[in-house]
């Protein structure tokens, strides 16, 4: 978002953080988006979209009649689960998530959109989506158990006292369904003890309308948290190696005869080891993708060429990995145009055909 935009929206009295309209080819400025927190109720993992049952705010009208808040992940959206990069498919239904959302791509207020549901915000394109574990941990926050009552955990947040989401002194529900993670093992509620510094994941609670949350998971020690994060990291690495790293085309330098040099900005949010593999690759394949990050027959419909250069961006904008690559391509594809989404395969990633439902076919 450029300065003119911020000046304009400030002049109009609007909050630039909530009024940002994303565009393909442009990374968002820092700290934009409307905060939505809610339980994941539906998921279309392939198209990277779903709905959230927004956490109650004691507004009973909303409690009774609000519709679930839809969201669509922007191409560069950061998704994290259990403290590690994730895809929507990794997150169980019922998990309370924290999202920052902006308007749809190229949104115009004059644009006709389908009717929005009651209490549904028009900012429905997520630039980030996290479970509570990731959300609080990223901000340097955690929970300290102060006392335990049957079915209730009295906790207080640690770390910065400001920010979105519940903070300060809170009461969370728990019961026998609550998974307690201890060391590399599953523990039990008996392993919970006052004074522990923990991270939670939450799910629906009976009186959610009043803002209550039920602890679905509690990580009671550092080893349990790093174990969970490591496992999720490996899940995501495996996924990315088969689906390839997303990014968008910044520039195409046509060299005649269909040849050209394609510059791709790689999106952030993946494990650093994947970017290292991209940086050290000799050959890169580039598959055209859609904003949903879905590809066509990516293993066959991509073109590959030598990696000419890796540029490092010292302080990359949100969504940007900090790495831009230049690849020489002998036969440019139609989808290699500035702003178009692609997925790139360093030559040691597998080139396996994806299941048909994942591909764009029609």
């Amino acid at each position: 978002m450029n300065l003119h935009f911020i000046v304009l929206v400030l002049a109009l009295g609007a909050d630039p953080r909530t009024e940002y309209v994303p565009k393909l080819g442009e990374f968002p400025p820092a700290n934009v988006g409307v905060y939505h927190a809610g339980e994941l109720v539906t998921v279309d993992a392939i198209n990277r979209r779903g709905t959230l049952r927004i956490v109650g705010n004691r507004d009973l009208d909303k409690y009774h009649s609000s519709e679930a808040q839809p969201f669509v992940l922007l191409p560069y959206a950061m998704v994290r689960y259990r403290g590690a990069p994730a895809e929507l498919r990794d997150i169980p239904i019922g998990t309370v998530l924290h999202a920052y959302c902006v308007y749809p791509l190229n949104y115009s207020k004059n644009e006709k959109r389908p009717r929005l549901g009651l209490f549904v915000e028009p900012q429905d394109h997520a630039i980030s989506l996290e479970d509570s574990f990731s959300f609080y941990e990223r901000r340097g926050q955690a929970w300290k158990i102060e006392s335990i009552e049957p079915g209730k955990l009295n906790v207080i947040s640690t770390g910065p006292a400001e920010g979105d989401g519940p903070l300060g002194r809170q009461v969370f529900d728990y019961d026998g369904s609550t998974r307690v993670w201890k060391g590399k093992q599953i523990g039990g509620v008996a392993d919970l003890a006052p004074g522990q510094l923990v991270q939670f994941n939450f799910t629906w609670a009976a009186d959610w309308g009043m803002g209550r949350l039920h602890a679905s998971d509690v990580w009671v020690d550092e080893e349990s948290r790093s174990t969970a994060a490591d496992l999720q990291r490996q899940i995501h690495i495996r996924y990315m190696r088969y689906h390839w790293l997303p990014g968008w085309i910044e520039h195409v330098e046509d060299q005649g005869g269909g040849k050209g040099i394609v510059t791709v900005a790689l999106f952030g949010g993946s494990d650093p080891s994947l970017y290292e593999q991209a940086k050290s690759a000799s050959m890169i394949s580039i598959a055209v993708a859609e904003p949903s990050l879905r590809t066509y027959m990516h293993a066959y419909d991509s073109k590959s060429g030598p990696l000419l250069e890796v540029k490092t961006i010292p302080q990359p904008p949100f969504g940007h990995s900090g790495f831009t690559i230049r690849v020489s391509i002998a036969e440019l594809l139609e989808g290699y145009r500035p702003g178009r989404i692609v997925r790139v395969r360093p030559n040691d990633f597998p080139a396996a055909k994806l299941p048909p439902e994942e591909r764009i076919r029609n």
Binding site: G257, D301, L332, L333, E334, R361
Partner: protein
């Protein structure tokens, strides 16, 4: 072959080392001593080994039996079978001399047999001439190349009209009958006027698609390199022609190319015959389409518009194609969001074409069209007051109420007069009453069987077209033996020479007056005929046959070695040679310029192939050549250099033989049987040029001797690869090291040395008298439809000599020829 031998016979210095002495070789000086030394011990009257005697062998070559016996002797000696290894062996020079002498005599004998003429000589029309004649007779387009139409004509050294070759079989008769029925039906259709107008509009049916996507349109069909518009996912783009004939085509399109790249090339492609019927490079900005409009003859069948140049395979994914049933429609290079993103990118981000692209808006075609002249000819051939087609059907109840119209009547005398007019034109001479009676009988017989008058009359027309008087040119008469052709025969000889077809009314009129033999009259007719557009048939057919251009592309060049080669280049090569000949005739240039010149006629495609500056305008243009271009004359045209190659490599021996036959007028003896082919260079040996391999290869004594004479004529063009592109080193697959440099030097058999094609051409041009005689001989073979013999040689020489003082201008040669005894005699 034979007449060329004769020319060489007369100009004994042609192959000096084969005829070094002032006294020509004879049986007594060459053959008899050889037989005595090496053969007669086993093949005389006493031993007669293999029941084969040489001591009583006839010295004649004219009779078939004699020729076969001599051919057997040549074969045995040439193959090294005789004399047997256990016997004394002749030297290579002796072997070569006997093979050469025998080959020359055999060729003379063959020529004499092929040129034999009785009181009447019949020369069947070639199928090309048949089609031309039908066109000029009735204005009907008949394509003899369509499968199932007329048989392919056998060629003799490229010539397709040699009478002794064009025999008649039952299959020909059957096809002539079928062809005549088709022609008559086309000219006088039973079902009324078949005229139809058709349109292909890519936007049609896509309006809703555009609206749904907020696109303005129109939809334009994008043809990337090698893309044909036959059937596509979104548009059935084939052009269907039901009735053969003249069609007016209209195509609105743009043609864009990448900076510095080739122009896109539009071809109208007959998908059944697999031939191009229209070609044009197209350049028009994307937003400023042009409309091409032309009229041409089309055979029945399917046609596709094709961006004809090497490119992506038909199945390749390109931005304009559908992917997995997803419909992608091109509108313009601004709106690319809906194109297939995993197809190849066709326009860059600044809307500049990445490949040569054709963008089609509209295709319209209408026909068959009938010209006023064709209408008049048809009216003359059809009895007045006789309806060609029945009146339209009366529908429904009216039919029962109204009495049927009275059957049209046909007055016999009117019909006879019409048949008389038609037969006299078709047969190219007045039809006699006795001849006509047969066709009037056909008419009456059909009528008596209940056929309608129109149908009966059609049968009579078919009869006239299947008469031998139509598909044969007759010279001479049974009543008297005459040396001279008559005026009607002369008119046909002239018109089939210049127009490949029947005489027109003016030529008929001159023949009818009986003054055509008057040199003034024939000169006037020649001058008139040269200005008629039908002269293109001569400038097309004669170079085609003389230079054997049918061989261009006969072996498709290897796509791996010549990735840029395409059918347009191939066609352009042939068109260059024909356009060159046309310009030579139009500008009345010296025959010398067939050998050496500082100009040629190229289009953009050829200019790029030759490395010449790209001409400014579209189509073929005359361009000035610089010495460093290494072109000029026929011999360094890509057509000639290609037809003497085999698709993967140049063939110096083939090139040598071609130069020897077409330019020097001499057919070398055939190679010995069972010659091993050249092997590819082994991987562990240095790369070697074909020349080096040939030199190492010619180990057989006879091979080496003849190749010494043939090969330099081919080596002179070693700087040109198999598709006629200039090179300084020869690409050699396999072998070690760098590609070897080209060596295009050599020594002619008379000792004159040359280095490269330019010096070689200069040597040929220095002996223009010889070439002029060769050229006249080729022209006479084409015109007189027979092989030239020893007897013709003095007259050929005289024709050429008459133009010598003026420097052999082409029109003078032609004029001398058509007024010569040779042309006027049978």
């Amino acid at each position: 072959m034979a007449w060329r031998s004769v020319v060489t016979f007369l100009i004994a210095a042609a192959w000096a080392d084969l005829a070094p002495a002032a006294v020509p070789d004879t049986f007594d000086t060459v053959i008899a001593p050889f037989f005595r030394t090496y053969c007669n011990r086993c093949h005389d009257g006493k031993v007669q080994k293999g029941e084969f005697r040489l001591d009583t062998l006839s010295r004649g070559f004219t009779l078939q039996a004699e020729a076969e016996r001599w051919s057997e002797i040549r074969f045995r000696i040439n193959s090294g079978e005789m004399p047997p290894k256990s016997e004394p062996q002749p030297k290579a020079e002796e072997l070569a001399k006997i093979v050469e002498w025998t080959s020359t005599r055999l060729a003379e004998g063959e020529a004499a047999r092929m040129a034999q003429r009785g009181p009447i000589a019949y020369y069947r029309l070639s199928r090309e001439e048949y089609a031309n004649t039908i066109q000029d007779l009735l204005g009907v387009h008949y394509d003899p190349m369509v499968p199932g139409a007329l048989n392919e004509d056998p060629r003799w050294h490229g010539f397709e009209r040699i009478g002794s070759k064009l025999t008649l079989s039952p299959s020909h008769v059957e096809r002539y009958l079928k062809a005549a029925e088709e022609v008559v039906e086309s000219a006088f259709p039973e079902q009324g006027n078949p005229f139809k107008k058709s349109v292909l509009d890519p936007t049609k049916g896509k309006e809703r698609w555009l609206e749904e996507r907020g696109l303005k349109g129109p939809v334009r069909a994008l043809l990337w390199p090698n893309r044909r518009l036959v059937t596509t996912i979104f548009w059935n783009g084939s052009i269907e022609i039901d009735k053969p004939g003249a069609y007016r085509m209209r195509v609105r399109l743009s043609g864009v190319r990448p900076p510095g790249g080739r122009a896109p090339h539009l071809t109208l492609w007959n998908t059944q015959l697999r031939v191009s019927v229209y070609d044009a490079d197209i350049l028009a900005p994307e937003d400023e389409p042009i409309t091409l409009e032309w009229t041409q003859s089309l055979s029945a069948g399917s046609y596709a518009l094709w961006n004809n140049m090497p490119g992506f395979d038909e199945v390749g994914n390109t931005a304009g194609t559908g992917l997995n049933n997803r419909q992608n429609v091109f509108t313009n290079s601004r709106d690319v969001g809906h194109l297939n993103p995993v197809g190849l990118k066709l326009f860059d981000d600044n809307r500049v074409a990445i490949y040569p692209l054709l963008i089609l808006d509209l295709v319209e075609w209408e026909g068959p069209l009938v010209s006023e002249e064709a209408r008049r000819k048809r009216e003359e051939a059809w009895p007045r007051n006789l309806a060609v087609s029945p009146p339209p059907m009366v529908k429904g109840t009216e039919k029962s109420k109204s009495p049927p119209p009275p059957p049209p009547t046909l007055e016999k005398e009117v019909a006879r007069a019409s048949l008389q007019r038609f037969a006299s034109r078709a047969w190219r001479r007045p039809a006699t009453d006795a001849e006509l009676d047969r066709y009037v009988k056909v008419l009456e017989s059909e009528l008596s069987l209940g056929e309608s008058p129109a149908s009966a009359y059609r049968s009579a027309l078919v009869g006239i077209l299947t008469s031998k008087s139509f598909f044969y040119l007759k010279e001479g008469s049974l009543d008297e033996y005459r040396d001279q052709i008559d005026d009607w025969e002369l008119a046909s000889r002239l018109s089939y020479l210049l127009w490949g077809s029947m005489p027109d009314d003016a030529l008929f009129a001159a023949a009818a007056e009986g003054k055509l033999r008057d040199p003034q009259v024939i000169r006037a007719q020649l001058a008139r005929m040269l200005t008629d557009e039908k002269i293109e048939r001569f400038t097309d057919a004669f170079p085609q046959q003389w230079l054997q251009l049918h061989r261009v592309g006969a072996v498709a060049p290897d796509r791996r070695l010549y990735p840029d080669y395409d059918t347009w280049l191939e066609r352009s090569m042939v068109l260059e040679t024909k356009a060159y000949f046309q310009a030579m005739l139009r500008e009345n240039r010296s025959l010398r310029e067939f050998l050496i010149s500082d100009w040629t006629i190229v289009n953009e495609r050829l200019a790029r192939h030759y490395g010449l500056p790209v001409p400014g305008g579209p189509g073929f243009q005359k361009v000035k050549l610089r010495p460093e271009d290494h072109r000029g004359g026929l011999l360094t045209q890509a057509s000639i250099l290609s037809l003497t190659s085999d698709g993967s490599r140049h063939r110096p021996v083939h090139r040598g033989v071609w130069v020897s036959e077409a330019i020097i007028g001499r057919t070398p003896p055939p190679p010995p049987p069972n010659v091993d082919p050249l092997e590819p260079t082994p991987l562990n040996e240095p790369k070697a040029t074909i020349r080096r391999q040939l030199e190492a290869h010619a180990t057989h004594a006879v091979c080496a001797f003849c190749h010494r004479t043939i090969d330099p004529l081919g080596f002179a063009f070693d700087h040109f690869d198999a598709v006629g592109a200039w090179r300084t080193e020869e690409r050699v697959d396999g072998g070690k090291g760098a590609n070897p440099p080209v060596n295009a030097s050599g020594v002619l058999s008379d000792g004159r040395a040359f280095d490269g094609p330019d010096e070689f051409k200069a040597l040929l041009a220095a002996d223009l008298d010889r070439f002029a005689e060769v050229f006249v001989g080729q022209l006479a073979t084409f015109a007189l439809r027979r092989v030239m013999t020893v007897d013709d040689a003095p007259r050929i020489k005289a024709i050429a000599e008459a133009a010598r003082a003026d420097g052999y201008p082409l029109r003078a040669i032609l004029e001398n020829f058509v007024t010569s005894d040779l042309f006027l005699q049978r």
